[in-house]
């Protein structure tokens, strides 16, 4: 049995669900939107056993061979719900998370592996160890150190250190007054690296690369700022593709969305690795069979 965790409105999850249905794969959909109808029981001892029950449908947890996660927090999924319903949804999330930590099923991706993305500079250190160039970075509460860093690199960007509010922006003179606020919390600055953005999805050993044409500092938000974005499928050079596979493997991520930038000099910089990539955005533009590849990974666990 393959268990999917998330909501129907999540596009990547819907795409994987469709791909599994096309292959007649056995699927149990643990729909977070139906938390109010869901019961979950888990026994952890010499064996891990349990059952999830949604209305009349049930799934024995020991029969689950693979899990695909796209879950969100109960708080964000259930705005305006009464306290009791919210508490039940939170308890359910906690229970599922506990089970995912002890199950022998293949989990795509495990929370422990996904967590590296919660600290951008930490993940960047891991990326550098895997052989990619990473931008010069300063995380600081020291205004003079930031000014010196800015002077050295000419153009720099700032972005969240964590995964929250993580929008990339170029530092400009308009920010000079606000710069004093960094004394309250270490803030991340990076040298600006010019070049073309490339998103690489690593699915097992398969590589799907997409070249992004946009003038925005952060192309994900380009359309919002009136800057059009165009996505095109790209064949990566073999050595770069191999580095992407090695990086995903080093981070223990069977599915990864790797953000690269190729400089005009041909050097490949890696900015971050998204452990739960919203691949459907790229797939819709390039028609790369990413959902099918993820379904294949899940079904391989079902067969083994």
């Amino acid at each position: 049995m393959i268990l999917l965790w998330g909501t129907e409105r999540d596009r990547p999850l819907a795409r994987v669900r469709d791909a599994l249905a096309e292959q007649d794969a056995p699927v149990f959909f643990l729909d977070q939107a139906r938390a109010g109808e869901t019961e979950f029981a888990l026994d952890v001892g010499a064996e891990v056993r349990g059952r999830v029950l949604i209305a009349g449908d049930s799934c024995e947890l020991e029969e689950v061979s693979a899990v695909y996660l796209r879950g969100d927090t109960a708080d964000s999924l259930m705005p305006g719900q009464d306290e009791e319903a919210l508490r039940h949804a939170q308890a359910l999330d906690e229970m599922v998370t506990t089970w995912l930590g002890v199950t022998d099923a293949r989990v795509i991706n495990p929370f422990a592996a996904m967590a590296s993305n919660g600290s951008k500079p930490y993940q960047s250190m891991l990326i550098a160890r895997a052989g990619f160039a990473v931008p010069e970075t300063l995380v600081s509460t020291d205004i003079e150190a930031v000014r010196a860093f800015w002077d050295r690199h000419g153009e720099i960007i700032y972005k969240s250190t964590s995964a929250i509010r993580s929008i990339v922006s170029r530092l400009s003179k308009d920010h000079a007054e606000r710069l004093e606020h960094i004394k309250w919390c270490p803030t991340q600055f990076q040298q600006y690296v010019a070049g073309r953005d490339v998103r690489v999805h690593v699915i097992g050993d398969e590589i799907f690369a997409t070249e992004i044409h946009s003038d925005a500092d952060d192309y994900r938000y380009g359309e919002r700022d009136g800057l059009p974005t165009e996505l095109r499928a790209l064949a990566l050079p073999d050595d770069c593709a191999d580095r992407c596979r090695r990086l995903a493997h080093a981070l223990r991520l069977p599915v990864a969305g790797i953000d690269l930038r190729r400089t005009p000099q041909g050097e490949w910089y890696c900015f971050e690795v998204n452990p739960s990539p919203a691949f459907s955005y790229y797939e819709a533009a390039t028609h790369q069979p990413i959902a099918e590849a993820i379904a294949g990974l899940l079904m391989a666990s079902e067969r083994s």
Partner: protein, 243 residues
């Protein structure tokens, strides 16, 4: 400047403060409030000095001989000096920064942080029980459910016994089987500091729970932690000037 150890702890962690005060100049306590001081700089890859602010004083990160991390993550409660609307965000940002800063240090870290927890692996109770079972250690099973019909287990400490693992040493029960079990669990989790609780004193006692935050108010524990920090730093060559 003499080398020194840093204890990272919540401002409300009285045991950590007591531990640091008792060790004199050898140990300095850092709280999340120190992260709201000018002077922090973490450069990578490899250019520029890395500086920290410990107990209000700027220091070169390279002068730190070892770190004891008592803080799983920075929380809003640690940040009364930050305006309320920004506290949750700043707490997450500071946690992310601390993980990177700790990872950048070459000195010994007790316990080494994971991406999910600054004090070691973020294992839930069920994961400790699973690890115990995989190691062949008898364990009280966990029965969890959104509709609880049975208790998970006796949460009280009556009738239980503890072994605190501190490196290759331990504090607590002398039963060698339980001591070996506690060390095996610490090794499996990749931690040097672990408090392990069993449901009895004899060799057949079952594993109940584990914690990466043993009681530093226990003099035996705090002395052993300090010895561990000294020996790890000496092995690393960082305690040349510490008496």
């Amino acid at each position: 400047m003499n080398a020194f150890f840093v204890v990272i702890a919540s401002r409300t962690d009285a045991a950590a403060a007591h531990f640091a005060a008792g060790a004199g100049s050898l140990v300095r306590m850092m709280t999340p409030a120190d992260l709201s001081q000018p002077g922090w700089s973490l450069h990578f890859p490899g250019t520029g000095p890395s500086t920290a602010v410990i107990a209000g004083e700027p220091v070169a990160s390279g002068t730190i001989a070892g770190v004891l991390t008592r803080l799983p993550a920075v929380t809003e409660h640690d940040l009364p000096h930050i305006i309320a609307a920004d506290r949750a965000y700043v707490a997450v940002e500071m946690t992310a920064f601390l993980l990177a800063w700790l990872t950048s240090l070459s000195c010994p870290l007790v316990n080494r942080p994971s991406a999910q927890c600054l004090s070691g692996p973020h294992w839930r109770e069920a994961q400790w029980i699973r690890a115990a079972n995989r190691l062949g250690i008898p364990a009280v099973p966990a029965m969890l459910g959104t509709r609880r019909t049975r208790p998970v287990h006796d949460e009280g400490e009556d009738g239980t016994t503890s072994v605190v693992v501190i490196g290759r040493q331990h504090v607590g029960t002398a039963d060698p089987v339980l001591v070996a079990h506690a060390h095996a669990l610490a090794d499996a989790a990749g931690v040097e500091l672990l408090s392990v609780r069993f449901d009895g004193e004899g060799p057949s006692a079952r594993f109940v729970a584990a914690s990466m935050w043993p009681d530093l108010d226990d003099a035996g524990v705090s002395d052993a932690v300090l010895r561990l920090m000294r020996s790890r730093a000496a092995a690393h060559g960082d305690l040349r000037e510490v008496g």
